[in-house]
C-alpha cells in the first residue's frame, strides 16, 4: 500500500531529522533508496530542485516523492507526514516539555546525536561526490568530465571563501549560484 508506505517513510524522516536541511538528506536518501522510490541520480536532481525553489528541503522532497509515487493524494500525505512530528513536538515543548528539554540526560543524548549526524552527512556527501565521478564504481569507468567539473566547482567554492577580494566585498557563492554554474558547465561538457 503505497499511501501507508509514504506516510510511514516520511514520518520517520520528520521524526529523526535533527539540525536543519542537510542533516535530513542522509535520512531521506535512506528512506527513498530502501523503498526504491528514487535512485541516487534522481535524488541529486531533486536536491538541486529543492535548493533552487523556496521552502524546506524536507518538505520539497516529500511533496515530490509523494507526487511521483501517489499523485496529489500521495504528495499531500507525504508532506503532512514530514511536517507532523515537528509540529507536535513544538506544541509539546511550548505547553509541557520545557523542563524535559533542559533535563541533563536528554541533553546528553542530544549532544551525542550532533557528532553522529555530522559524521553521517560528511559520509553521504563524499559518497555522492564519488558516485558522480565513478558512475559504475569501477576504477576504469572514471567519468573524467565529471571529475574535472567537481574539481572546478570545489575550487570555485574554496576560492570565493579564501580570497580577500571576495571576502571584503562580501561576495559569497550561494548554493543556488553554484547550482546555476554547475548546470551551465554540465551543458558545456556533456553537450546539447
Amino acid at each position: 500500500m503505497i499511501y501507508l508506505e509514504l506516510l510511514l517513510g516520511f514520518l520517520k524522516v520528520g521524526l529523526f531529522a535533527f539540525g536543519g536541511a542537510y542533516a535530513a538528506i542522509p535520512l531521506i536518501r535512506d528512506v527513498v533508496l530502501s523503498n526504491g522510490w528514487l535512485d541516487d541520480a534522481q535524488l541529486s536532481y531533486m536536491i538541486a530542485v529543492s535548493e533552487s525553489t523556496p521552502g524546506p528541503i524536507m518538505v520539497n522532497m516529500a511533496t515530490y516523492v509523494g507526487s511521483t509515487r501517489g499523485g496529489i493524494l500521495g504528495s499531500a500525505l507525504a508532506t503532512a507526514a514530514v511536517v507532523t512530528p515537528a509540529f507536535i513536538i513544538i506544541l509539546l515543548v511550548v505547553y509541557a516539555l520545557r523542563a524535559v528539554m533542559e533535563n541533563r540526560y536528554v541533553k546528553a543524548v542530544m549532544d551525542s546525536l550532533v557528532p553522529c549526524v555530522n559524521g553521517i552527512i560528511l559520509a553521504v556527501g563524499l559518497f555522492m561526490t564519488l558516485e558522480c565521478i565513478l558512475p559504475e564504481f569501477k576504477p576504469l569507468t572514471v567519468d573524467f568530465r565529471a571529475a574535472a567539473l567537481t574539481a572546478l566547482l570545489a575550487l570555485l567554492l574554496f576560492l570565493t571563501r579564501k580570497i580577500k577580494f571576495f571576502a571584503e566585498r562580501k561576495i559569497k557563492l550561494s548554493p543556488v549560484t553554484l547550482i546555476v554554474i554547475a548546470s551551465l558547465a554540465g551543458i558545456l561538457m556533456y553537450g546539447v
Partner: protein
Amino acid sequence: MNKDKLKTIAELFLTFFKIGLFTFGGGYAMIPIIEHNCIEKKGWITHREMSDLVVIAESTPGPVAINCATFVGCKRGGVIGSLAATFGVVLPSFIIIYLISLFLDNLLEIKWVASAFKGISCAVGILIVDAALRLVKRMKKDVTTIIIFAVSFVVMMAVNLLGLRFSTVTLMLICGAAGLIVYIVKSRAAAKGGEGKE
C-alpha cells in the same frame, strides 16, 4: 470564534505563506526573515523568545521552518494559530514542487536539460560536503564527540561503499544510547570522586 481572533489567524497564515514563498535554501536562511517579520514588523515574539526558538528548533527534529512557524503561531494564536502558520509556511513549496513533479521526467528527456542535471549532481555532492564541514567546525571537540563522529563517518561510508542495508536511524539510536551511557558513567565517577575528597 470572534473577529479579532479570526484576523490574527488570517494574519499568521498570510505572513508565513510569504515567508515560505521567499525563503530559498531551507531552514537557517529563514531565521533572519522570521526575525524581520515576526519581531520587527509585527511584534509577535521578543528577541529573547526568538533565540530560545532557534535553540529549540536545533534540538528538536523536523525542518527548522516548521519548528519556527509552529512556535510563533502557538505563541500568538494557540493551537489554531500554529496550524495556520505551519500550513501557510508549507503551502508555497508544496504547490511549486507539485507542479515541477508533473513535468520533471519529461524535462529530463531533453538532452541539454539532462546535461545540465549531470553537472548539477556534481555540485550537490560538494554542497553536502561543504555543509558537513561547516557543521564539524562548529561542533564541540571532546574525546567522546570525536569518537562518535569518527565511528558514524566510517560506518556510513562502509555502508554506502559496500551497498549494505543499515538504517541511519539505527546508527543514530546507537549513538544516542552510547552518549547517554558515557554521560552516566562520567557523572557517577565524578560523584564518587567528590565523595572520596570529603
